[in-house]
Symmetry: C2
Amino acid sequence: MSTAQPVAGVAAERTHLASAETPLRVAVLGCGTVGTEVVRLLTDSADDLRARIGRPLQVAGIAVRRPGRNRPGIDPDLLTTDPQALVGSGDIDLVIEVIGGIEPARSLILTAMENGASVVTANKALLAQDGATLFAAAEQAGVDLYFEAAVAGAIPIIRPLRESLVGDEITAVIGIVNGTTNFILDKMDTTGAGFAETLTEAQDLGYAEPDPTADIEGFDAAAKAAILSSLAFHTRVTSADVYREGITEVSSTDIASAKAMGCVVKAVAICQLTAPGPNGEQAVSVRTHPAMIPRNHPLASVGGAYNAVFVESKSAGRLMFYGPGAGGAPTASAVLGDLVTVARNRLRGASGPGESSYAARPISSIDTVVTRYHLSLEVTEAPGVLATIAHCFAEHSVSIQTVRQQGRDANAQLVIVTHPAPDAALSATVESLRELDVVCEVTSVMRVEGE
Amino acid sequence: MSTAQPVAGVAAERTHLASAETPLRVAVLGCGTVGTEVVRLLTDSADDLRARIGRPLQVAGIAVRRPGRNRPGIDPDLLTTDPQALVGSGDIDLVIEVIGGIEPARSLILTAMENGASVVTANKALLAQDGATLFAAAEQAGVDLYFEAAVAGAIPIIRPLRESLVGDEITAVIGIVNGTTNFILDKMDTTGAGFAETLTEAQDLGYAEPDPTADIEGFDAAAKAAILSSLAFHTRVTSADVYREGITEVSSTDIASAKAMGCVVKAVAICQLTAPGPNGEQAVSVRTHPAMIPRNHPLASVGGAYNAVFVESKSAGRLMFYGPGAGGAPTASAVLGDLVTVARNRLRGASGPGESSYAARPISSIDTVVTRYHLSLEVTEAPGVLATIAHCFAEHSVSIQTVRQQGRDANAQLVIVTHPAPDAALSATVESLRELDVVCEVTSVMRVEGE
């Protein structure tokens, strides 16, 4: 074997020596919605996959927690409750990990790699928390780690960032990357209903999990934002680096307010390079939160459970990628695209791109992020109220763009939109506003993005 | 070297033996808008490209026709008028071909490959006419042939089709892939102006070439459609296989008619698998022509010189890719993305995907394509005209969905929209209509797509 390509393990050895008829052996870890669909397609599309790869694929085993469960179309003899034994057997070429979560997924992936298998995973949480360990293990073993399914389901976004745009300078990636929150906010926009009842409806329809925390509190989007910014900015970014706000505080009043100013409320993941400092240095700013975006922005029309990712780069300009962001079949499509690619790589004794973190840019604090803000305040209606409030903004150097008063007397409400201001200045303003006698309540604070 | 990866030539040999500081030598063929931008970025982004590849790149030579021309920022010592000598020298690792056209581009690419260089090209005409020869040569030499820039400029679409969706079954690719015609039709839609004057305006603004034939007659879109359908359907498709109509016959009346029925006129490239035959066999249908598409279709809102490609597949569902479809910087972004990828492949002793034409599906005739049609007829206004015309449609088994009469007396015009019908039946209908005494003229026939 060439010294240029360290490939470890019995499996890799066998791959190279085998004939064109010897199958590549695939282990599938997890057999939920995505896993079931993957196994079904591995069977139904076997001839096409074989032609595209140049070798047949053979499912060597499927690791499940509950082997007794009814799984139509899946050969029960392939099921095992011992995933470590499956990936550690040394005769697996390709591992598909669709268990999710940190453990046992991480240990299984590491064992698989040590045993010479390439890995395809949809595990955003693990990649965002500890991608570096996985990349290092893949590099060490000379195997592939592919993860197109981890962000935005079937939408090809990982490969475009990792390969298509790798000769360009990406400056921003802005995405609607969580279908559940997009479904809820879209429904609230259409029906005028509140968050709680819309969440219940989404749960009834299967668009939200029984425990919706990961989606509605932004953990899922934060993990995806970490992965996207790592790739876009050649910098290691983990989910802990991502500023995160969920959508639980979004009210029907916010949505109506957004409408009134020609905007729509979306849960966005925003990955940006900050403006260059005195020596040209740029930091990475990563956050996920609800935001008002103009209705004519390409992301505004992304409805239902769809996802979209908007990429800005120096040479390519503005690109958008749109499609189904979740679901068994779309996610399985992404998994199988990766599977064919890593299988082809394997047969050519090659491996795809590894981690690229050479730029090692610092992560900027949310305090320094500059955006416009939309605020709603309940105020007492007395002479001089506006002057008092305007003074409070001025003290913190936050400039007001528009003020609108809604209601009168006891229900007087001020809706204020600021000019771009740093988050820290806005937070300090809000704190001061809360201390004013004329302010009964700060009912909502939301960023305005995408302008 | 491993027997698994045939790599020919002095250049490849040198690549493997060299140290991490030995540059990969790049030849650039052509120094027009794209070539100039590529060379500029190779210099300006040298440090980033080096970090991303793991080796520096060095521009070894730039082949031009007119060396005396003023080229700011380009080292005149790199220029040569002998491209064959440049690519045949045996010490070039990577060749960027942005000359365009068939010859000398083809000979140069073949020479480059025989001498062990990997090739990145933006040459849609050559790929669509004779891609098979290039792929075979690349396979033979064990080098890469990448061509993201050949279709839709900076929009990553080649790699998603070739890799991301390779585990899926693509059923249709529908794109706005020519910025010039989209600019013209978009302008006509906005201003109500005719084709000829809008073309002149587009030429004045630099959106159309002095000789606009390739764009307005659909040759450019046909080449791109051939490339897209080859990749999507794993079948060799050449530009000669593509049914082609230009936009020169599109009138302001057509555009107004489209508006009246909630549509917009777009020049589309359509690549489809036909409905399965009795034994499940499917053919490839490829065409480019102007069409009316509903204003709520994602492609309808693609304005100006932008491009968009809509992909439908069995598992992934409906995806859309959107961005700048032409221009020096966007095209250079695509070229450099490929360059980094083939450079990485080279350093790993690997090569990317080759031609995939195993499915070898037949190409279906335009006659069998089933769509709805929009027709405008100038008719004499006499009793029984509609009955006569309706009878003519019925004779050819073309079912009418709506009829609208505009104007009266000498200016009477019938606007007819059909139910879906095969192209051959519609063509026969039009021929019969022309022979009717009551029909003065068939002023326009246009397909209605995207429903």
